[in-house]
């Protein structure tokens, strides 16, 4: 549970335009789902049991298990990511043959765990899905590349590098893929502006979406 007054006080989060129509006393709680305890339900217990059996350092590697909205999320330490991924792919009872891709996320308030990389795995043999999440600090944004485990991660890792600045060690060719090759900055980070321009109308100018008044 985190209650961050500085970001969320005031229902309309206005600064500068003097919008007095909001109720300044409202503080919104930002609640994230916490860690889950066993039993997890449905196939999640099987998956975590199998992983523990196959992977003796399970308790060191897995930081947290979250079961939320019928989905299993394993938070893995960056140092154990490669081994966990290999075990998930190769163990007969787990067999997560396909990696759906890497998704990045940037949480600037989580000091030392700002950048998250999220891997969605699919097991066609057992018809299961799980999610692996890794958190790394902004000061050292390195993760092992999973291209050797699932070749399809190649472009996804390039995209995550392009958009968030996460550097994947061991990637065969980590370059920008969506932005032009010489683009500065990583656009989908929270500290990168949306980059729009003012729109001219007759007698008025409307600012771009990230600079307008907004509701929390």
């Amino acid at each position: 549970m985190s209650q961050d007054k500085s970001l969320n006080s005031g229902a309309f989060g206005v600064s500068g335009t003097g919008d007095t129509s909001g109720y300044g006393g409202l503080v919104r709680n930002k609640v994230k789902p916490g860690s889950s305890e066993r039993p997890f339900g449905s196939y999640f217990d099987d998956v975590t049991d199998e992983l523990e059996r196959a992977f003796p350092e399970f308790n060191d590697a897995i930081e947290k298990v979250i079961v939320d909205r019928d989905e299993l999320t394993l938070h893995v330490k960056a140092s154990h990511l490669f081994d966990t991924a290999k075990k998930l792919r190769d163990t007969e009872t787990l067999r997560f043959e396909q990696c759906m891709g890497v998704s990045g996320a940037h949480y600037p308030e989580d000091k030392n765990r700002e950048l998250h990389a999220v891997y969605h795995l699919l097991s066609m043999t057992h018809n299961r899905r799980i999610r692996i999440e890794v958190s790394i600090p902004d000061s050292n944004p390195h993760l092992p590349s999973l291209v050797e485990v699932w070749a399809g991660c190649n472009w996804n890792e390039r995209e995550t590098f392009d958009m968030f600045g996460i550097i994947f060690d061991g990637h065969p060719g980590l370059t920008r893929i969506l932005m032009p090759d010489d683009w500065p900055g990583h656009p989908q980070r929270k500290d990168y502006p949306l980059g729009g321009i003012d729109v001219e109308y007759k007698g008025a100018v409307i600012p771009p979406p990230d600079e307008r008044r907004k509701y929390q």
């Binding site: 932005m179 032009p180 683009w183 656009p187 990168y192 502006p193 949306l194 980059g195 729009g196 321009i197 729109v199 001219e200 109308y201 007759k202 007698g203 008025a204 100018v205 771009p208 979406p209």
Partner: protein, 197 residues
């Protein structure tokens, strides 16, 4: 207007030498008629508008009846560039290069909201209107514009081409257009619709 440069014109260069008068007007009419009835578009379909452009060229909304079914792949052979879709910052230099490779006389239709002004994507990745990169003759709004809207834009362009002036008449028109543009009020200073300002 935006696409005129010196030396653009018929092979003979006839129209450059004629004084303003009956003969020049007849040459203009003939040249305009020829050009507008076989305008060949270059394939520059980028995103969703490209699909509507293909639908405009397909069976139901047939562009062939205007002489435009051959979408030339090579810009060297094309007269009209229909920029159909959102132009990203990575694509902008390519767009300019294709435009430069087209031979004069050439025209540009900015098809769709994204090509005209950046559309709903007011962000880091999209060029806010292709007129930042190439001179545009017709802006066609819509997201995406129906094939019939595209045909309307093309027909308006045909009229525009058919009425285009050449030679000394053209120079006169260019000067008039420039003077009008310099004297115009900027959009954000225009009075708001219906206000008493």
């Amino acid at each position: 207007m935006a696409t005129w440069r010196t030396g653009m014109g018929l092979i003979v260069g006839l129209e450059e030498k004629l004084p303003s008068g009956f003969v020049l007007t007849s040459v203009e009419k003939l040249a305009g008629y020829m050009r507008k009835n076989s305008l060949w578009p270059a394939t520059f379909g980028l995103a969703c508008c490209a699909i509507e452009m293909m639908a405009a060229g397909a069976g139901r909304y047939d562009l062939a009846r205007f002489g435009m079914e051959v979408f030339r792949a090579s810009p060297r052979q094309a007269d009209l560039m229909i920029v159909a879709g959102r132009v990203s910052n990575k694509m902008a230099p390519v767009l300019r290069q294709i435009y430069d490779q087209m031979a004069a006389p050439k025209w540009v239709i900015a098809m769709g909201a994204c090509a005209s002004s950046g559309g709903m994507f007011n962000n880091y990745a999209i060029v806010q209107g292709v007129d930042h990169v190439v001179p545009v003759d017709i802006y066609l709004p819509g997201c995406p514009p129906r094939p019939e809207m595209l045909m309307d834009a093309i027909l308006k362009l045909h009229e525009h081409i058919g009425d285009a002036k050449l030679g000394v008449n053209r120079e006169k028109v260019i000067r008039e257009v420039e003077a009008a543009a310099l004297a115009a009020v900027p959009t954000h200073s225009l009075p708001v619709f219906g206000s008493s300002a």
